[in-house]
């Protein structure tokens, strides 16, 4: 899996505000990648451009994937005409149903399966939504604040589970949590305001897998690099 963005320029339709000016970046190989930056710098816009949901920009985005890119965000809803369990079964490809039980157990949403989506808490809703995306075919899954409203411990469990279960897949994790991205991601793309140059910087993360405790000093160093870059 390889994504190369070259010299991207973009401004929102019916707005004179420039979002990206000559932005270039690269995401390659499986694993957890992060897109980090303050609110309003264009993280979601860049993610949507990579997913092919935003057009009308200049520059090039070269995508080399087999199964494609999926983009999910934290405000998505499941249809209300069936309970969560029915919906998940319905949208699971036959070869992925074996993952369903494993994911629902690990993500702590077993008790939600007989409930309608609208009755779940925000955290449960986000976990359920992420589960259905993980059951699809993809090379890169862009997770735009997909674990918002989920407590820290559960978030850590989920990220580690995804990393172990889908080690051959790539993830682009959009988050505002500096500790999380520094700890779990192998590369962090720090996006900055359009007036700053370079607009995007790549920082190597700790890529923690849960097998050994993370190196505190290295983690602090990565966090400092991220903060300095942003």
């Amino acid at each position: 899996m390889l994504i190369e963005c070259h010299d991207l320029n973009y401004q929102y339709p019916s707005s004179s505000t420039q979002v990206f000016q000559g932005l270039s970046c690269r995401i390659s190989g499986p694993g957890f990648h992060a897109l980090f930056g303050p609110s309003g710098v264009g993280k979601t816009t860049l993610a949507k451009m990579i997913a092919g949901l935003v057009k009308g920009f200049s520059g090039e985005i070269n995508v080399k994937t087999k199964a494609g890119i999926l983009y999910t965000y934290n405000l998505e809803r499941l249809p209300g005409w069936s309970v969560v369990g029915e919906h998940l079964k319905e949208i699971s490809p036959p070869d992925k149903t074996k993952y369903l039980q494993n994911l629902t157990e690990s993500f702590g949403i077993e008790e939600c399966l007989k409930t309608r989506f609208s009755r779940l808490s925000l955290g449960q809703q986000n976990r359920t939504n992420l589960t259905r995306y993980l059951l699809q075919d993809f090379d890169l899954l862009i997770m735009d604040e997909s674990l918002a409203n989920v407590d820290e411990t559960t978030r850590e469990t989920i990220i580690l589970k995804i990393k172990s279960m889908f080690s051959q897949k790539a993830f682009l994790y959009i988050s505002h949590n500096v500790v999380e991205v520094a700890k779990f991601c192998k590369e962090i793309l720090v996006l900055r305001d359009v007036r700053k140059s370079p607009q995007i910087t790549a920082i190597k993360g700790q890529d923690h897998t849960g097998e050994q405790p993370p190196d505190r000093r290295a983690l602090e160093q990565t966090m400092l690099e991220i903060v300095h870059a942003s």
Partner: protein, 248 residues
Amino acid sequence: MLHRRIYQFLIVYATGICILFLIKFALNLSDYVIPSPKEVWITAGQVFIRYLVNVMDTLAVAVIGHILSIFMATLVGIIGRLTSGVGSLIKIAAFNIQAYPIVAVAPIIFILLGDGLASRLLIASMICYFPLLLSVLGVLTEPVSDIEHFYRMTGRLTWQLEVKIRVFENITKLTTVVSGSATLAMVGTIVAEFIAADAGIGYTIRIALYQSDLAKILVALFLIGIWTSLYLVCLEWIGHLIQKKWQR
């Protein structure tokens, strides 16, 4: 126990009748202008069954016209939700035609189709069709992005699923619009009967009007109100059942 709709109608009707009699007694108007309560009561006894049959006739035409317009609005709404040229054309046409008072076209329909059932049905359908179409178009062309996104991303979003999502998300709005347009269907039928029909309660009122018989008109209005309210109650009940079944 009476339904809220029936209560509301009875209150409005009783208030109207009281005001009418107050005017009669305050201005000392003759029974020829405004009949006495006793005369209205006697007239009701004489014409009730015949008028009831006429109201049922009108209601039947209104219900069929209403169903036709719901069917047509859904069909055109589904086509109109397309972003293609056809969809845009339907939307623009619906908005413009809706702005025109359709009832003004009624004489042309009577000239072309005569004063039979077809004309009444067509006018009833046309009067409630355009407001219905605009609402259906509004619902079906408005994406429910937070639900549709997943299906769009995974290539599962068929037009049937898109329509299902949008209808489900707006079911309360749609059932309200359908109930609201039922009154329009009834109005359309009665207006058609006023103009040139040979049956129905509108036609009966027209004859009573020629005779300047306000007592008969008051009885007819009572029956129209009661049966329209009952039709609305039925529609609301069906809407409630659909919502309950889908959202249980």
